[in-house]
């Protein structure tokens, strides 16, 4: 107990380097904003910013779950498939029972996600299957099930009830529902990882599994919890996705897991586990969203998008390493004197 209470204090002391990182990200975003604005004056308009946020909200929801997975040192490649299956299942149910309450649809999608996430969690935690392999297998299975469930057909806009479609397109208090949901999830998980015992323990199992075991942290249960949470969030995102684009297809969100991982990496979540913050995640998500939103606005051919995204991700990762090395060198020099 006392050891855990001390952990946040030490983390705070360690944070000077990470704070610098987030500042750097913020400055980079600001510079990009100015550059985009100079090229196209409609970038920093309220309408476009609203657009940008609407389009990045789902990415943000998923990135939170992925951050937890990455913190434990794992990875989840199945979420694109989970999005498709959850979205398809809720859309098919909505087609069969048009009067169904949209909230029930959301719950249905989350339940689908929970099942998939739990299976991955059990494989990783109980049977020690490497996360990349477990989620890869599940990704194939889930994607196959989606095609079979839908018999290869799409569910299109006219087959969905208005209530269902307004899940993602509607507004509450002038704010788009999607953005609202994302904000709530960000706040919830910020509290969870920073101020609950379970949340801090997730960092512990990521940064030093041996130490976590020795100090009696229930690693298996936490691993399961993390993958199940990722599944639930992916299920939620799946329903929101289908409701936003008003179409459920077998290949929905194909390869989207890579975008989500990219957002996490840009946001400073370490892929080897143990570190990552919700605030960095928000910035990373916004940066990736900006790249998606702004490149078409400044007349960059859509075919350049993937290349530019890749370069930005690589640059972010390499800079991160360089900064960390520099910090360590400085720290060593200080100690030598």
């Amino acid at each position: 107990m006392s050891a855990e209470a001390k952990a946040p204090a030490r983390a705070r002391a360690n944070r000077s380097g990470e704070g610098f990182r987030e500042l750097g990200l913020l400055v980079f975003i600001a510079i990009l904003c100015i550059a985009f604005q100079l090229r196209n004056h409609s970038f920093l308009t309220l309408a476009n910013i609203k657009d940008l946020l609407d389009n990045t909200a789902i990415l943000g929801i998923l990135a939170v779950g992925m951050m937890l997975v990455l913190i434990t040192g794992g990875i989840d490649l199945s979420i694109g498939a989970t999005i498709a299956l959850a979205g398809m299942t809720s859309a098919l149910t909505g087609m069969a029972i048009p009067r169904i309450n949209p909230l029930l649809s959301i719950l249905e999608g989350m339940a689908v996600g929970l099942v998939i996430g739990s299976v991955i969690g059990i494989l990783v935690a109980r049977f020690k299957v490497l996360p990349i392999i477990a989620s890869l297998g599940l990704m194939n299975i889930v994607r196959g099930v989606t095609y079979i469930e839908s018999k290869g057909a799409w569910v299109s806009a006219y087959q969905m009830s208005d209530d269902f479609k307004s899940l993602s397109t509607g507004t509450t208090l002038g704010v788009n529902n999607l953005v609202l949901i994302a904000l709530v999830i960000f706040a919830l998980f910020w509290y969870f990882v920073n101020h609950t015992k379970t949340g801090r323990r997730i960092y512990a199992i990521g940064s030093n599994p041996d130490a976590a075991d020795v100090s009696g942290i229930p690693r298996r249960k936490l691993l399961w919890l993390v993958y199940a949470t990722m599944g639930v969030l992916a299920g939620l995102a799946g329903v929101l996705w289908v409701s936003k684009f008003a179409s459920a297809q077998g290949d929905t969100a194909l390869g989207y897991e890579l975008n989500v991982i990219a957002a996490c990496v840009l946001g400073g979540v370490s892929i080897s586990g143990g570190s990552g913050k919700v605030s960095g995640l928000v910035l990373g998500t916004i940066l990736l969203g900006m790249l998606n939103n702004a490149l078409p606005l400044i007349d960059v051919s859509p075919f350049w998008q993937q290349f530019i995204q890749g370069i930005v991700i690589l640059a972010a990762v390499l800079t991160n390493v360089a900064v960390k090395r520099n910090n360590q060198r400085l720290a060593l020099r200080k100690r030598a004197i």
Partner: protein, 345 residues
């Protein structure tokens, strides 16, 4: 547990000989063929069995170097993008006037360069895991392919070029012969040369390998470059089979390739595995695909089957064969004290 013996040769015994993962694969292979031949009466004849290999062997060239990569304890998810990029460069340079043989060589060069870049980033930035490096280059390589060719297709290869994938010498497809040659070369490299021993040593314990004088960096770069080169081979055969190429070719190949290697009994924790397993797995999945295609089963069922096989094989390897010499996450031993010592005896 009480006494640790260190010897280079494992004791040979009948029990150990029959208790190998590869025998299970052989059983699966036979089962697949039995199921296939009961599904379709067109399936079981030698001509179609040998002839059908050109439908799935192009991917198999990637399985060979991926075995090395996974034995090293790394993973490479950029291979499919490398295939796409080298195919696109080849097609575009051919259509710009380069003679076909030179374009084909250029394809191999581009593939090797992509692999080399992966390797260089990995050794210069050791803090980064192979997953994240190859994830970034995966996006970049395919991004470059899109920049070059946008959403166009490019092709119009000369007639003789299609012989690469469709031609055969006698009844044996050319691609099968080339693959067999590559497989033998890789098998010898892995099991009979000091390079192969170094790969195993590094997969078991990278630090110990470095301290015992292995130039770990050059091994990593060499394996990466080799992976790129074989990606070039894959793209040669793939674009020959398809007759043209697009930036989105080979999408998802990396997953199938990794699945085959893992199904072949190579431990994802690194340090153990043999070349024969993944090669068997190539034929298992290939014939499964071919047979299911004969009876008009959709690709979706295959997705499910591959996924299940992948997970089941890892489960069986983990639980029954103690396939992970090192527990995958450090400290797994602490949790299950009763299970681990088995493989050390």
């Amino acid at each position: 547990m009480s006494e640790r013996s260190i010897s280079v040769d494992r004791p040979r015994s009948l029990r150990r000989f029959f208790f190998q993962w590869e025998w299970l694969l052989v059983l699966i292979f036979i089962a697949v063929n039995l199921i296939n031949s009961s599904l379709s009466r067109y399936y079981l004849n030698l001509r179609s069995l040998v002839g059908s290999t050109n439908s799935f062997l192009d991917m198999a060239f990637l399985v060979l170097p991926m075995t090395f990569v996974i034995i090293l304890g790394n993973i490479d998810i950029s291979v499919a993008s490398t295939v796409a990029l080298s195919a696109v460069v080849m097609a575009v340079s051919f259509n710009a006037g380069l003679p076909m043989p030179l374009a084909a060589i250029l394809c191999l060069v581009v593939g090797t360069a992509c692999g080399l870049l992966n390797g260089l980033i990995m050794i210069k930035f050791k803090e980064l895991s192979a997953v994240i490096v190859t994830l970034a280059t995966m996006i970049i390589y395919r991004g470059i392919a899109y920049v070059i060719l946008e959403d166009q297709a490019s092709g119009h290869f000369p007639k003789w070029y299609s012989f690469l994938a469709w031609g055969s010498i006698g009844p044996v497809p050319l691609i099968l012969i080339v693959f067999a040659a590559c497989a033998i070369a890789f098998g010898l490299l892995l099991h009979k040369t000091s390079f192969g021993r170094k790969v195993f040593a590094m997969g078991n314990n990278l630090t110990a390998a470095r301290y015992s004088g292995i130039r770990t960096d050059s091994v990593i770069v060499a394996v990466s470059a080799l992976t790129g080169l074989m990606a070039g081979f894959t793209s040669l055969f793939l674009s020959s089979r398809m007759g043209s190429t697009r930036p989105n070719v080979a999408l998802g190949y990396e997953l199938s390739v990794i699945a085959m290697v893992v199904l072949g009994g190579v431990s994802t924790a690194g340090g153990s595995g043999r070349i024969g397993g993944p090669i068997l797995a190539v034929f298992i999945i290939g014939y499964l695909n071919y047979g299911l295609g004969l009876v008009n089963t959709t690709a979706n069922v295959l997705l499910i089957i591959i996924g299940s096989l992948l997970i089941l094989s890892v489960l069986v390897l983990n639980v029954r064969f103690g396939g992970h010499r090192r527990p995958a996450p450090p400290g797994a031993r602490v949790i299950a004290p009763g299970k681990a010592p088995d493989e050390k005896a």
